[in-house]
């Protein structure tokens, strides 16, 4: 058995009986056991449950009822609620929280026969771009253990990048799937807002949060998305849309927005430009254009995300579940000490800024203004998509940075300069490996019109048939 096999190959192996789902799960559990003390990609490994699920998958395959994901190991970001399995959001606040329900994403992937091996590390409450804010310690980059895997879905990206699981779920609020995918050299898709149910996905910023998938190839991501997506009566904001299917014209117009491409330093710029040229060589036209409000995206994003987070995290008050301070003197003391000790610094910073921007006297200047900026950014994209079929852009200003290197919060927020605009516009966006700088993977971002994931998948698949960046894997 080899790591880094595609989902399709694993499915064939299972169908042929080359190995059982139990053997496949065991193989990956052993890889996790060997690597994860170092990598810290997992918060919980759920070996027993995994083997039970694998046995069930084997019985299903034996009955000839297996689907494309039956018996395929995967990991869930620890932001997705899993019934009977601790779901921590990488926070001390939820360190012992065991939900009595599954997230819709978890339930659907289980129904498809996947075998969940564990819950992956992340930034606390998905607030961060490095997976360093986790209560369980930072996850590490499989390409260089001294570097961050990106964030917030860093554990999922690192686990797939290191070959510990063939695929994993993630969530993306301002870049939390795309940036770690780029840093870890894997493919990651943030679907259109509303494509995937948010039920049971612990909320950070509800108007931005979107579940998605990591895989070793566009094809694998497409397979996982196929089992996750679709309307959910439990999520009013989930859309009723036809399932995603790879569909792209042979010759597309691909926009290179000047705001994203100018100022890219040396190797990084060359690497990305070469990737764009590859798309041109495949028969697509590169079109230079402008998304004029790009600069305003990061500030607008941090105002809106903070505002929503400040309300979403109010429920963690020590009263019903989660961390509770001992021997409270009174109600205020219970609130104050439970939240002071239960939340980390970055989470508190965002609750504070969000509370501030919603307050009387500041609401118009911050929250409403940010919403106006958001509409401008949406409008930018709508206009752009009258000219181009898809947009190609960098994911992050550089490759993975060293752990601890970005210690200024605002500098960390600037990591999200190329990912927050598509988030604010609710658009599908994907990151795929497109080269290396200094031995570290670089990701190319493709952004499409709403619910045109199929177009991104077609372009990405075509790119991956012409290149082998996605087949490069770290040693060890």
């Amino acid at each position: 058995m080899q790591p880094f096999a595609s989902i399709a190959d694993l499915g064939r192996g299972l169908a042929r009986g080359d190995y059982s789902a139990r053997e496949l799960a065991t193989f990956h559990l052993e890889r996790i056991a060997a690597a994860d003390d170092d990598l810290n990609a997992f918060i919980h490994v759920t070996q027993e449950r995994a083997l039970r699920a694998a046995d069930a998958a084997d019985r299903r395959i034996a009955r000839g009822e297996g689907g494309p994901l039956t018996g395929i190991p995967l990991a869930h970001k620890d932001i997705f609620c899993t019934e009977g399995v601790a779901t921590t959001c990488a926070s001390r606040m939820l360190a012992d929280f065991v939900p009595p329900y599954d997230a819709t994403v978890v339930a659907r992937l289980a129904a498809a026969g996947t075998v969940c091996l564990g819950k992956t590390n992340m930034d606390e409450f998905a607030m961060g771009s490095s997976s360093e804010t986790s209560w369980f310690g930072p996850a590490r980059n499989p390409w260089d253990r001294d570097r961050a895997p990106g964030g917030s879905s860093g554990g999922s990206a690192a686990a797939v990048g290191a070959g510990l699981v063939p695929c994993a779920t993630g969530t993306d609020t301002g870049g939390s799937i795309r940036q770690p995918a780029a840093f870890c050299g894997v493919t990651g898709l943030k679907p259109t807002y509303g494509r995937v149910s948010r039920y049971g996905m612990i909320a950070f910023a509800s108007s931005l949060d979107q579940g998605g998938a990591f895989g070793l190839s566009v094809e694998d991501v497409e397979t996982v998305l196929g089992a996750m997506e679709g309307h959910d009566p439990l999520d009013s904001t989930s859309a009723e849309r036809a399932p995603t299917r790879r569909n792209g014209a042979r010759s597309m117009r691909i926009g290179l927005p000047s705001e994203y491409w100018t100022g890219l330093a040396g190797d990084m710029g060359e690497c990305l430009l070469a990737a764009a040229k590859e798309l041109e060589a495949a028969g697509h036209a590169l079109v230079s254009h402008s998304l004029p409000h790009t600069d305003a995206a990061v500030p607008a994003y941090y105002v809106i995300a903070g505002a929503e987070a400040s309300a979403n995290l109010s429920r963690y008050d020590g009263v019903r579940f989660g961390f509770r301070a001992e021997d409270p003197a009174d109600l205020d003391d219970l609130y104050r000490r439970s939240r002071a000790a239960g939340f980390g610094t970055e989470v508190k910073r965002r609750i504070l800024t969000g509370t501030y921007t919603l307050s009387v006297g500041y609401y118009d200047a911050y929250y409403l203004k940010a919403q106006r900026v958001r509409r401008r950014i949406q409008q930018d994209f709508l206009e752009a998509f009258e000219e181009v079929d898809a947009i190609a852009a960098p994911v992050a200003p550089g490759p993975a940075f060293e752990l601890g290197a970005v210690d200024d919060p605002v500098a960390m927020y600037r990591q999200d300069v190329f990912t927050t605009p598509a988030s604010l516009a609710g658009l599908p966006a994907m990151s795929m490996p497109c080269g290396f700088v200094g031995g570290l993977p670089v990701g190319l971002q493709l952004i499409g019109p709403a619910f045109e994931e199929g177009r991104l998948l077609a372009l990405g698949h075509e790119f991956q048939r012409r290149t082998d960046w996605h087949r490069r894997h770290p040693e060890g």
């Binding site: 779901t87 959001c89 329900y101 904001t237 309300a311 429920r315 008050d317 019903r320 109600l331």
Partner: protein, 480 residues
């Protein structure tokens, strides 16, 4: 110094618990009286990752109310988060409607002291109720019951059009009748199905500008509402007349002490940091939904009152009694449907039926005498088949044993003796048996007629029509 003439200005906010089967944002049952925390699902508990889904029935009920008060109905409205920390508020915010309520300006018409008053409604919006904090049963602790969390509320905000505690009470009563007629609220005040907050201020009569106001929260009976407002008006006048100023604050009414006190609860905040709830899409009020709601608006109390007065010729007090409770009005109308007269039907319901219900502690919806039976009973009196006295007996039989009015009359031989020949024979016999009294009558002593009527009625076992007996007796007495 002459005492100043003060005018009080009152506005009410009434929280109407909508009678939906499930909660406004979850599938949990919305029921009163279950053991604590057995009617709260993950959504009501504000568990991580759960999401609200709007109950369409609550929207329909809000629209029905809006149509009933001729209100502006928003084409689209949305939900907002109202942020504050309190243990019985699981999410740390309440989902409510801030600046885009589902129901806009409308009017409620009510009657007080025989005059009609139109009270402006500023808006009505949907929101979720919070749970309950139970302070009594736990030493040094507070219990939290989240059964009520997520129960749909329609908060109706009146204009400050009310001027007296009696008017405020009349308005609360009218609102109570309206929501019960609409079938959107069970109206059980003692279960908290309707709770009022009163905004009260006073000003020198003639002054345009409003005085500083206070808000009295959580008034859940007609009487407490009137008393609390009356007390608060007196308090404010006292403060102002002693040279002080009214402080804008929220107060609670203590019915035992009959006074209001400033509220110190933690659920009060200066800034609720409202913002649109991103978990819920804006609600589009489609024409289909509106049509559905319109079809469910019945005849309302004010229209009924007019009709009872103008078409049925009933008095104001009869009308007030019959329309106050939709179940009473329905009983009355079902009685009329059998073809009996309106006035006798009203009298029977207000006297005999009301007294019997009261004695047995029953609601009219549980009345053992169906309105069809009552209508038939009244019709038989009108037809002269039975006397009013016998009708009372028949009513009691139906109440106790059930059965059908005509069958009971026949089976017990209660039919009036209307056979003129038979009655004539009895009358002649009675006259013949009492020559002395005949002489007295003929000498002009009219009162003796009563003696003869009594004798005839005794002979017939009460089954004779007294009017007919009178006529026959006069004939017989005059005859030689």
């Amino acid at each position: 110094m002459a005492a100043m003439d003060w005018e009080s200005v009152i506005g009410l906010e009434i929280h109407v618990q909508l009678a939906t089967r499930s909660k406004i944002f979850s599938g949990a049952e919305a029921a009163f009286g279950a053991p604590p925390n057995t009617r709260a699902c993950a959504v009501d508990l504000g568990m991580p990752g759960v999401l609200p889904v709007l109950n369409r029935e609550a929207v329909r009920m809000a629209l029905t109310f809006g149509l009933a008060i001729d209100a502006e109905i928003a084409r689209t409205c949305r939900f907002d988060r109202k942020n504050y920390f309190y243990p019985d508020l699981p999410k740390g915010y309440q989902i409510s409607q801030f600046d885009q309520p589902i129901v806009g300006a409308g009017v409620v018409e009510m009657e007080i002291d025989g005059a009609t008053r139109r009270i402006g409604i500023r808006r009505a919006h949907l929101e979720e109720d919070a749970g309950k904090s139970l302070h009594e049963d736990y030493a040094d602790m507070t219990g939290i019951d989240l059964n009520r969390a997520g129960t749909p509320l329609l908060e109706v905000v009146s204009e400050p059009d009310l001027r007296t505690p009696a008017e405020a009470e009349a308005f609360f009563r009218e609102m109570h009748a309206v929501v019960r007629y609409l079938g959107i609220c069970d109206g059980n005040l003692n279960e908290g199905s309707m709770r009022g907050d009163a905004n009260v201020s006073v000003r020198p009569r003639g002054q345009q500008r409003l005085g500083e106001r206070t808000e009295i929260k959580n008034l859940n009976s007609f009487r407490f509402l009137r008393q609390a407002i009356a007390h608060e008006i007196d308090r404010q006048i006292g403060v102002l007349e002693s040279g002080g100023g009214v402080v804008r604050e929220t107060r609670l009414y203590d019915p035992r002490a009959d006074e209001t006190r400033p509220m110190r609860g933690k659920e009060l905040s200066d800034d609720y940091r409202y913002f649109p709830d991103p978990d819920l899409l804006p609600v589009r009020v489609t024409s289909e939904l509106l049509a559905e709601a319109r079809a469910l608006v019945p005849e309302l109390p004010r229209a009924k009152r007019r009709r009872y007065r103008e078409d049925l010729g009933l008095s104001d007090s009869d009308t007030g009694f019959l329309t106050g409770d939709p179940d009473v009005a329905a009983y009355f109308e079902a009685t009329l449907a059998t073809g009996c007269g309106a006035k006798p039907a009203a009298n029977w319901i207000m006297d005999r039926v009301a007294a019997s219900l009261n004695r047995s502690g029953l609601d009219i919806s549980g009345c053992p005498v169906a309105p069809e039976q009552l209508g038939r009973l009244i019709a038989r009196i009108e037809e002269g088949v039975i006397s009013g006295k016998i009708a009372g007996t028949v009513f009691d039989v139906v109440w106790e044993e059930g059965g059908e009015v005509d069958a009971i009359i026949d089976a017990r031989g209660l039919r009036q003796v209307s056979d003129t020949g038979e009655l004539d024979r009895i009358v002649r016999q009675v006259v013949a048996d009492h020559p002395e009294q005949v002489e007295q009558f003929r000498a002009g002593k009219e009162k003796v007629l009563g003696f003869f009527v009594g004798r005839v009625m005794r002979e017939t076992g009460g089954k004779a029509d007294p009017r007919q007996v009178n006529v026959l007796l006069r004939d017989a007495l005059r005859a030689r």
